[in-house]
């Protein structure tokens, strides 16, 4: 118990906010995905902080954060494949220009 629970939660909140900024403010689709990864990391910090401080005897917290890890990997794999596929046909990864459905 190095630091109180709230410190970890503040850290998670700050990381989540930064990731949120990255997702909404970046032009490049790959950078948007990096923002998503930051948010998932923030989520994992919170899960593990609650696991350590509230229910350390129960492995549920750790198991869920491993599931988050798996989901993050699947998300990155498919998301980046989508970006590559769009890049092939449209020659761009700028999300402002990827607006086929609008027209």
């Amino acid at each position: 118990m190095v630091a109180p629970l709230s410190w970890y939660l503040f850290l998670g909140a700050a990381l989540f906010g930064i990731g949120f900024f990255g997702v909404l403010a970046r032009r490049n689709a790959v950078a948007v995905l990096m923002g998503v990864e930051l948010m998932l990391n923030a989520v994992n910090i919170n899960i593990l902080a609650f696991w350590r401080f509230v229910r350390p005897d129960d492995p549920t917290g750790q198991i869920f954060s491993i599931f988050v890890l798996a989901v993050a990997a699947a998300e990155a794999a498919v998301g980046l494949a989508l970006i590559i596929s769009i890049y092939r046909t449209r020659r761009t990864v700028n999300i402002d220009e990827i607006d086929l459905l609008k027209h």
Binding site: V2, L69, A70, A73, A77, L80, A81, I84
Partner: protein, 118 residues
């Protein structure tokens, strides 16, 4: 448990500083006479055309992709292996199902020639 990681933390700092210290000593000893020819990119003596951002093939991405999926699988199997003595026969079949489903992915990649390096 945290005491065990104390040494790793200290070692991390020392292991990170060690190469820098070496480079620092070398910086004091070595000659420093750069010129544009020395600093140019080494490409078999030919003038470099453009920068190094050549277009890469999707094959690299496919390999990385299959690697990511199997890496996750390994991460799931390591705790299972540690808990192996404490679980029943049925649990083993659950783990086998897990592996077999992902082996299906490998077979798919094989059939789609994603494993070929053309």
């Amino acid at each position: 448990m945290l005491d065990q990681y104390g040494l790793i933390g200290v070692l991390a700092i020392i292991a990170f500083l060690f190469p820098f210290v070496g480079v620092g000593i070398a910086w004091m000893l070595r000659p420093k006479r750069p010129d544009p020819i020395k600093k140019s990119t080494y490409e078999c003596g030919i003038e470099t055309i453009g920068d190094a951002w050549v277009q890469f093939r999707a094959q690299y991405y496919l390999i990385a992709l299959i690697f990511v999926i199997f890496d996750i699988e390994v991460i799931f199997l390591f705790p299972f292996a540690v808990a192996f003595e404490q679980v029943g026969l049925f649990a083993v079949f659950e783990a086998i199902l897990f592996v077999v489903i992902l082996a299906g992915g490998l077979i798919y990649a094989w059939k789609k020639n994603a494993l070929e390096w053309q």
